[in-house]
Structure formats: structure tokens, C-alpha cells
């Protein structure tokens, strides 16, 4: 058995699962912050095996889902402009904008949109198309931002003038603080994002235990990881403790990855940002530093953010804030399906509505 198989070994998982069943007394309402965890929990069939007292809520940890309507509106305005190639990760091409159309529709009408796997691919595209301006849609959390920053450093060093970034990056800790401050949110514990934590480490989450008295566990994406984090928070609650623990030491250092953080900070600076369903959260986004102004698509292309109305009937905001499970949205699986998504939570492979639609057996 390789080390990686161990983390999904059914026997080991069963032992932890049994312990959770034994030790849980009462209800456990937990939220996983990260969309990759959401999908891992559904995919592995874990939901069907947890004790009935466990209430599983998905949080704001899918970068596509939290992209605000106005941000989608801005890049939709950009798509189809003369001489512009929009470079983006795949999920975004299907997110409907304020007018109901998405980048896929824009492509069909002639907009140049390239789906890339890394921001460096977008930079290569810019080099290969010197007559066009390549705008990379910078969407993602602390996990993605350092690579985008490194790409911008490379672009600046090489003097690639036709590469631009539209930075809608978002930061997880300020959003969690805003979320946990909501008196209506009735949560017992948090499962913390593994990928984001590899970059920022454990320190930025301390406030969860200190200010909100909630247990929180950083963990990986294999079933055993997730089960161990649940057992840990069950035990913390039982013992009346609230700590932020790192159960993902094979990937996450308590101090994170200072190099990646330094790269990110050399290019970006915190800025206010709009979150879908939540609204403006101070200091929760990343803007390009003045030294990188020449690469800032908003500035060089004169883009302005128009206020976009939320999509009528879409409850993505409530889903992202853990107030509603997707199956209780009136549009779920009726007007809103992966084939014809109304909101981004149904588009993204990490979105909780998509996960319910795709994996949930009984509804």
C-alpha cells in the first residue's frame, strides 16, 4: 500500500468512522470552508455514513461561486472587445453574467476566450499573440494568487506589455470573520481548507477559536483526512475545547509557505472585495500594487464595475453562508441544473449545488 492509498484505506476509515459514531453526543453542525472538501465528502459517499446528528454545511470556499455578479459583469464586458483575448480557468466559461449569458455564449458570438491550465499558459499566449491583449481572469484564493503573482513578476521581467490581469482574488480569513460574525449562523465547528492553508499556514485562523470559540481543523482531501478532522472536532466539543489544529502536516506547515506569501505580497496588496451573496468585505481581496499598474486590466483598459443585481430567485448567497442547503433552493434541479445553471454554485465543479445535484442519492 502506498502512503497515498493509506488515506483512503477502507479499514482505517471505518475505525475512525466508528469512533465518531461512538463519541458524538448530540448534534454537530459543521461547515467545510473549501469547495474541494465539499466534493470530496460527496464523492467518497461519506455523507451517507456519518451519524444522523451530523449536519453538513458548505461554506464560501469555491472561488467560482464567490465571484460577484458585478465581477462577472465586468469580464463579460471585456469579452468580445477588439484585440482582446480573455484567458481563464475552465469553470468560469459557464458562469452566467448579469444578462444571463456566459463566456461560452460570448465565444459562440466570436469573442476570443482561451481556457488555460495555469496563468503561465496565459503569458505564453500573450507572447504568441503580440497584436492582442491577453487578459487573464485572476479568480481564486490564496492558493492561486501566488502563481498569478509569479507570472506577473515574469511578465514584468520579460517586458511583456500585452499581458494583463483582472484581479478578483479573494482572501479566506477575512471572509470567515465576516461570516462567523453573523448571529444567525448556528455552527459548531469548521473544517479548514487544505490548499489555502499550505500557503498561509495556521496562524491567520487563530481568531476562529479565540474570538468565536469554535473548534477548527485544517485537513487534506482524502476520506481518512476528513474523518480524522471530524473526530477531532467531535472530541474538542465534548471536552469543551476550541482550538485550531493542523491535521494535514504532510502538506501544511503551521507557518505556511513564506516564500509563496512573499511573492504574493510583492505583487498584490489587500483591498476591499465583493463576495457573491455576502457583499463587500473590507480587506478581503487582492489588488495589484502600483508597481504593477501597467498589468492591471481594470486600469489599462478603463474597466468600471457596474452594479449588477443578484439573479432573481437564486439563493447562492444563502447557500454560501451555510443558511440553506442547496436542495431547499426553490430553483434547485428545476429551473437550475448543471446544463442550465442559474447561479455559479451549480456551475462550478466545486459548487455545493452542483455537488448535491451530482452526488446526492436521496433528496
Amino acid at each position: 500500500m502506498s502512503i497515498f492509498d493509506k488515506f483512503s484505506d477502507p479499514e482505517l476509515c471505518k475505525a475512525v468512522l466508528d469512533a465518531i459514531h461512538r463519541e458524538l453526543d448530540g448534534e454537530l453542525r459543521f461547515m467545510e470552508v473549501c469547495g474541494t472538501h465539499t466534493v470530496a465528502i460527496f464523492r467518497s459517499g461519506l455523507r451517507s455514513m456519518l451519524p444522523p446528528g451530523v449536519v453538513h454545511l458548505s461554506g464560501p470556499g469555491c472561488p467560482v461561486c464567490v465571484t460577484h455578479e458585478s465581477e462577472v459583469g465586468m469580464y463579460m464586458d471585456l469579452a468580445g472587445r477588439d484585440g482582446v483575448i480573455v484567458a481563464t480557468f475552465g469553470d468560469l466559461v459557464r458562469v452566467p453574467g448579469p444578462g444571463g449569458t456566459c463566456l461560452k455564449d460570448a465565444m459562440a458570438q466570436g469573442a476570443r476566450v482561451a481556457v488555460v491550465y495555469s496563468p503561465f499558459d496565459a503569458l505564453t499566449l500573450a507572447r504568441e499573440n503580440p497584436q492582442a491583449t491577453v487578459v487573464f481572469l485572476g479568480i481564486g484564493f490564496e492558493t492561486t494568487a501566488p502563481t498569478v503573482a509569479a507570472t506577473l513578476q515574469a511578465a514584468r521581467a520579460a517586458g511583456v506589455g500585452n499581458f494583463q490581469v483582472l484581479s478578483f482574488h479573494k482572501l479566506v480569513p477575512p471572509a470567515l470573520r465576516a461570516l462567523l460574525g453573523d448571529p444567525e449562523l448556528n455552527l459548531h465547528a469548521l473544517v479548514m481548507p487544505g490548499h489555502v492553508s499550505t500557503i498561509i499556514g495556521l496562524e491567520p485562523y487563530r481568531f476562529i477559536a479565540e474570538d468565536f470559540h469554535l473548534p477548527a481543523a485544517i485537513t487534506g482531501f482524502d476520506p481518512l483526512d476528513i474523518l480524522q478532522s471530524l473526530l477531532d472536532i467531535v472530541r474538542q466539543r465534548k471536552e469543551g475545547r476550541a482550538e485550531v489544529v493542523n491535521l494535514y502536516r504532510r502538506a501544511v506547515q503551521d507557518l505556511g509557505n513564506p516564500k509563496a506569501v512573499a511573492v504574493m505580497e510583492s505583487v498584490f496588496t489587500p483591498a476591499d472585495a465583493l463576495w457573491r451573496g455576502i457583499g463587500m468585505i473590507p480587506g478581503s481581496g487582492l489588488a495589484l500594487r502600483p508597481e504593477y499598474e501597467a498589468f492591471d486590466a481594470q486600469k489599462t483598459l478603463g474597466l468600471t464595475m457596474a452594479e449588477a443585481k443578484p439573479i432573481p430567485g437564486c439563493r447562492c448567497g444563502d447557500v454560501l453562508r451555510g443558511k440553506l442547503t442547496p436542495d431547499r433552493c426553490p430553483l434547485f434541479a428545476k429551473a437550475c441544473t448543471p446544463a442550465k445553471p442559474v447561479g455559479p454554485c451549480m456551475v462550478s465543479t466545486e459548487g455545493s449545488c452542483a455537488a448535491y445535484y451530482k452526488y446526492q442519492l436521496e433528496m
Binding site: S8, P10, C13, K14, T36, F42, R43, S44, G45, L46, R47, S48, M49, P63, V64, F89, G90, D91, V93, R94, V115, Y117, I139, G140, F141, T143, T144, H195, P223, T337, P338, A339, T349, E350, Y357, K358, Y359, Q360, L361
Partner: protein, 335 residues
């Protein structure tokens, strides 16, 4: 032929077309029916017949394990075979983009000829059109196949019955990942090869030697998950799959993990799904295992009366979840 690239002239029907046909297609497809060069192929066959058509627009045109030409033969041969027929004849139509390299066309045509000979079918009629540069992407191929039925009660997506066993002939997702990796210029530690191959030999033996085959399908676009969902819907049954039993090569598994894709939704071009009564499952597996094209065959699930129209996956962990139909394309994830 003196030119190195396809010119519009080659689709004119005039001398240039004649040269392309005689020097390229006739040479590689060589058979007496085609050689007569009449307006249509004269076929002396008895019904009932099975017929299928498919257009191939794959990008990239050449990929590890095959090319658009071999794929165009395998795809249609397999479609005819899955109905329980012995494929005999193929037609093929080419749409070529002006400027496409003749040397590449020759490699494709040669691969088609070879694939047809290997599968025991003849390419007996065809057509070539050339469109101006930019009006098509390099080369599109349509193939149509006909074959004679081997059994009276032929396999069909409507015949899965509760209690039947669900078998697959080998690993899932190889073709889909090979294409994606090639298209995106991704290199994996172990290269992933397309599984593109003709399965008519295997299907014929399953039908004649094992018998009572309820469903035969090749899980092409949409992969195993989508194809089983179609069968569950057509037959009005539930299908219970055992995740741990579904064969996937380590290279495909790790490539998919890297890209955030699910191998169960990736296309296969050389694998089949066979659904048959439980009592016949062992015999079918033994037959598959004795053939290199079925060496990796596994029993992956059971047909049930519960959850009609749905495919339920029992995960390696022992949990149960829905294995839904794929909507749109699978897209790589952000983080």
C-alpha cells in the same frame, strides 16, 4: 502527386481528385468492391442488418495510440458490433481543409486501411470534399458501417434486467485522458495511450459462445458513467456499481487527480460494457480474459430493481452516492 498540401482542386471532381483517389485511397483501402469505381458499391449481403454512422472531428488528429483515421474505423465498427452484428462494409467521407499536409493525410488513410483489414471489414465507398482554409479544422471523417446480425434477439440498452451482472472489458478513461493530455501539451510520468481498437471479434465470441447477452455498449463520449445512466434509463432499472472494482490505470488515475477530472466520465474507444445474466458472468469473464483486448475485464456491478433510472456507486469506503450523467464537458478545476 507533386503537391505537398491539399489544394481546393483535390475536391473538384476533376483530374486532381482522380489522382487523390487512385494514388491514395484505392492503394490503402484496396478491395474489389471499391476498385470497380462505380457510383455506388454493389454489396451482396442478406439481412437483417445493422447500420451506424459517426463523424470524427478529433483534435489533435494524431494522438498516442492512434489517429483520426484508425479511430474513424474503430468507432463505427464498434457501434455496429455492439448491436450484435458482424460489421462487413464501411463508407468513408473526408472533409479536408485546404492546406492540410498530404503526408499527414497519407498516414491517416494508411491507418484506416490497416484498421479496416485488422477488423475484417472493407471500405467500399467514399467521398472527398475540400473546403477553403479556415472553414474546417484540418480533417473531418465520417464513416458509416453495415453488418449482418449474428443473433435473433440482439443486445440492446433496453434489455438490462434486475439481477444481471455488469462487466467491463478493461481499464476506463485511457482514450479521453490521452486526447486531453496531447491537446494541452501535458506530459505525465507514464504516457497515457488511447485504447482505440476494434472490438467486433470480442463481441462476436461473447454473442455466439456465451450467449444471452442483454446489453453490449462501448462507453465512448461521456464514459462509463454516462453510458450506464443511459442504459438504466432505457431499461428502467437501477445499476449498482462497485467503485473499487472499476479498473483504471495508475497513470490515468493520477492524471485525472491532477486535472480534477473523473475517469468514469472520460471516453473509451476500445472497451465494452457487457450486461448479462448472473449465471453467465463467469463464462463471459473467462472468455474476455483469454483475449488481449479483454485481459483487464472485471465485474463492476449489478443491475437492480431499486432506484430505477439511476446509477448508484458504492464507494471504496462503503458509502453510497449517485453517479449522475455528465452535463456538458468536464472542465479542469481552478484550485
Amino acid at each position: 502527386m507533386d503537391a505537398t498540401h491539399i489544394l481546393l482542386d483535390y475536391g473538384s471532381g476533376g483530374k486532381a481528385s482522380q489522382r487523390l483517389i487512385s494514388e491514395l485511397f484505392l492503394r490503402h483501402f484496396d478491395n474489389p468492391v471499391l476498385a470497380r469505381m462505380d457510383d455506388a458499391a454493389f454489396l451482396d449481403i442478406q439481412g437483417p442488418l445493422a447500420m451506424s454512422t459517426d463523424s470524427f472531428v478529433v483534435d489533435p488528429v494524431f494522438f498516442p495510440g492512434g489517429n483520426i483515421g484508425s479511430l474513424a474505423v474503430h468507432g463505427t465498427v464498434n457501434d455496429v458490433a455492439m448491436l450484435g452484428a458482424r460489421p462487413l462494409y464501411l463508407s468513408c467521407a473526408f472533409i479536408l481543409e485546404e492546406g492540410f499536409e498530404l503526408e499527414k493525410l497519407e498516414r491517416i488513410v494508411q491507418a484506416m486501411g490497416q484498421a479496416a483489414r485488422d477488423a475484417g471489414v472493407s471500405i467500399v465507398t467514399g467521398d472527398t470534399k475540400v473546403v477553403p482554409r479556415g472553414m474546417a479544422d484540418k480533417i473531418f471523417i465520417n464513416t458509416t458501417g453495415v453488418g449482418t446480425m449474428l443473433v435473433a434477439e440482439h443486445p440492446s440498452g433496453h434489455r438490462a434486467a434486475p439481477g444481471d451482472a455488469v462487466l467491463v472489458s478493461g481499464t476506463m478513461g485511457d482514450h479521453g485522458l490521452a486526447i486531453l493530455a496531447q491537446r494541452e501539451g501535458l506530459a505525465f510520468e507514464t504516457p497515457v495511450l488511447s485504447d482505440s481498437t476494434a472490438l467486433n471479434g470480442l463481441t462476436e465470441r461473447l454473442l455466439l459462445e456465451v450467449g444471452d447477452i442483454h446489453v453490449l455498449r462501448d462507453p465512448t463520449r461521456g464514459g462509463l458513467a454516462t453510458t450506464l445512466n443511459e442504459i438504466a434509463g432505457q431499461s428502467g432499472v437501477g445499476i449498482e456499481l462497485d467503485e473499487g472494482a472499476i479498473p483504471v490505470t495508475p497513470a490515468v488515475r493520477s492524471g485525472c487527480a491532477f486535472l480534477g477530472l473523473d475517469p468514469l466520465y472520460l471516453a473509451n474507444e476500445g472497451k465494452l460494457i457487457c450486461i448479462l445474466p448472473e449465471a453467465k458472468a463467469e463464462a463471459a469473464l473467462a472468455l474476455l480474459h483469454a483475449d488481449p483486448k479483454g485481459a483487464g475485464a472485471r465485474r463492476v456491478g449489478t443491475v437492480a430493481a431499486a432506484n430505477p433510472g439511476k446509477v448508484v456507486l458504492r464507494t471504496a469506503l462503503g458509502g453510497k452516492r449517485l453517479l449522475n450523467m455528465l452535463e456538458g464537458e468536464q472542465l479542469p478545476r481552478i484550485c
